[in-house]
């Protein structure tokens, strides 16, 4: 155990991953599973390499990335913007909060077919769907974060004649930052789901399209290939948001880090 502890942290999940691939390999070999149910790992690997080399995969990856990121950026900006507006203005809150809270209960992907009819079968409709699914976590977390600002801290600044703009920029917004990043974290994974669901519904391009059309053709290797690529995109996105979170909200990760040093081994602490 002592020697194991000296290894860098990223080794451990790699070991588990190799074990899973090993079991997959062995299962396909031992139980003679048909390709359309579970393709052997080498077949998926070949498909991936060929796809990248002959360039057939790139348009799919590109389409899914554009839909996911475009919708994510627009949806997050709208969510944060409207959250700020409602948290800072009683009037907007009265007019809009009940409506938006009601809308939140609607499963956004159910709006997919309507959005397709409105925005066509191209990239635009997927972006709109992604905007919708990303909006709510950002909107809700922004409002909660801004309201969570320490009243004593606000009073202390008010006693030094701080203006409303100062209180917002220097106290409320930094207080909300961690919660907003929590929303961004949820948003990035929902964005990918939104894009894939949109592609399932109807499209000619994208990793979601790749998987759904492969399912029609009973092409197991292509399905697994698509899912693997989506997994990689999802993990990269989440990791990027996490890194950004740690750098922007540096004052909280500082505390988290000292805390986790104290508690290491006793419980799981998020370290990014």
């Amino acid at each position: 155990m002592k020697y194991l502890a000296a290894l860098p942290a990223f080794i451990y999940p790699l070991v588990s991953l190799s074990a899973i691939v090993g079991i997959w390999f062995a299962a396909v070999r031992l139980f003679v599973i048909p390709d359309y149910l579970l393709p052997p790992p080498w077949q998926v690997f070949d498909l991936l390499v060929n796809g990248f080399v002959d360039g057939a995969l790139w348009p799919h990856i590109g389409a899914t990335l554009v839909e996911t990121l475009g919708g994510y950026v627009v949806g997050s900006a709208l969510g944060i913007g409207l959250g700020v507006l409602l948290a800072e203005s009683k009037m907007f809150e009265r007019f809009l909060l009940p409506l938006l809270t009601g809308l939140q209960a609607v499963p956004k992907v159910a709006l997919g077919p309507i959005i397709l009819v409105w925005c066509g079968y191209g990239v635009a409709s997927k972006i709109v769907l992604v905007v919708l699914v990303c909006f709510f976590p950002l909107f809700i977390n922004t409002i909660n974060g801004l309201r969570r600002a320490d009243e004593d801290l606000l009073d202390a600044c008010r006693a030094f004649s701080a203006s409303r703009a100062f209180l917002f920029l220097h106290v409320k917004l930094p207080s909300a930052a961690s919660e907003i990043f929590g929303g961004l974290q949820i948003g990035i994974s929902l964005a990918l789901i939104g894009a894939v669901v949109g592609e399932f519904l109807s499209s000619q391009r994208g990793l979601g399209y790749l998987v759904s059309s492969a399912s029609v053709n009973m092409s197991g290797a292509t399905m697994v290939e698509g899912v693997l690529l989506l997994a990689v995109i999802g993990m990269c996105g989440a990791q990027m948001v996490r890194t950004l979170h740690r750098h922007v909200v540096f004052w909280e990760s500082r505390e988290t880090r000292t805390e986790s040093r104290r508690r290491r081994g006793k419980m799981m602490v998020w370290e990014g």
């Binding site: 006693a159 030094f160 004649s161 220097h170």
Partner: protein
């Protein structure tokens, strides 16, 4: 009162002593779901220019409410509060505050926290920066100006709060149990430091505390408040010589004053 201020009595010209803060028949009621709560009733209080006034009372006597009125954060339900003769309807520019919690901005360095009043009041940057460095030296934290509050101990954070309170050179200092959350030794050190700063700059101070010793040690006058609703029940001048030091704590007059004040809470 005049004698307690150390001001000349019966001199050739009797100048009116400028008043830093007054409360006239101030009452405050809070509306809560269970009905109105009377926090303060008919408070009358004057703080003269350069005077150190401690307000002493049990917890829940409305001391903090009184401080928030002086800070312009609460408008009295009835009565009148003035700052240097002007009615108090917003936070005064010439006022510095410190609280029981240091209330520093965790995302700003120690230096930027001390600079906060310069930002909120729109003071010229260069002289304010110079003063911030001087004040950090005054509270012994020059070496920590680039650190963040979370990296400092409670006592050090409180010192940062005191430096911030002094940045814009305010005439009136409002301190709400600033040392209450600290350990006894840090408390004593900071009380001595506060006295040293006060003796050098002679500001008017409203110092809220629930410690009898702290009140007697620091103040020219101790105002005693009763608990709910908060009322002024005594106004005691403290005539101990300054600068007071650790020997003062064991002197007979100090003990007498403490004993007298303790009588109110038994």
């Amino acid at each position: 009162m005049t004698a307690a201020n150390g001001r000349a009595v019966g001199g050739p010209v009797l100048e009116p002593v400028p008043v830093a803060f007054t409360a006239e028949n101030v009452s405050v009621c809070y509306q809560t779901r269970k009905g109105a709560i009377e926090a303060l009733r008919d408070i009358n209080l004057d703080i003269m220019q350069g005077e150190f006034v401690a307000v002493l009372g049990p917890s829940g006597c409305g001391k903090s409410t009184l401080m928030k009125i002086a800070a312009g954060l609460i408008i009295p339900t009835s009565g009148r509060a003035t700052l240097a003769g002007k009615p108090l309807d917003r936070p005064g520019r010439d006022v510095g505050v410190a609280f029981q919690k240091p209330n520093l901005l965790p995302w700003k360095s120690v230096f930027d926290n001390v600079m906060l009043p310069a930002l909120t009041l729109g003071l010229p940057r260069a002289p304010a920066e110079r003063r911030a460095m001087e004040l950090l030296a005054l509270v012994g934290l020059s070496a920590f100006s680039a650190n963040y509050p979370a990296e400092l101990s409670g006592g050090m954070q409180q010192r940062v709060g005191i430096a911030r309170m002094l940045l814009h050179d305010p005439q009136l200092l409002l301190m709400d149990e600033p040392f209450a959350a600290l350990d006894a030794m840090t408390r004593e050190t900071l009380a001595l430091e506060l006295q040293r700063i006060w003796l050098g700059q002679r500001k008017s101070v409203l110092f809220i505390t629930h410690s009898i010793q702290e009140a007697v040690f620091l103040a020219d006058r101790v105002i005693v408040m009763s608990s709910r609703p908060g009322r002024v029940i005594d106004d005691v001048p403290i005539t101990l010589a300054r600068p007071r030091n650790t020997d003062t704590l064991s002197s007979a007059p100090f003990g007498d004053a403490c004993r007298y004040l303790r009588g109110h809470f038994q």
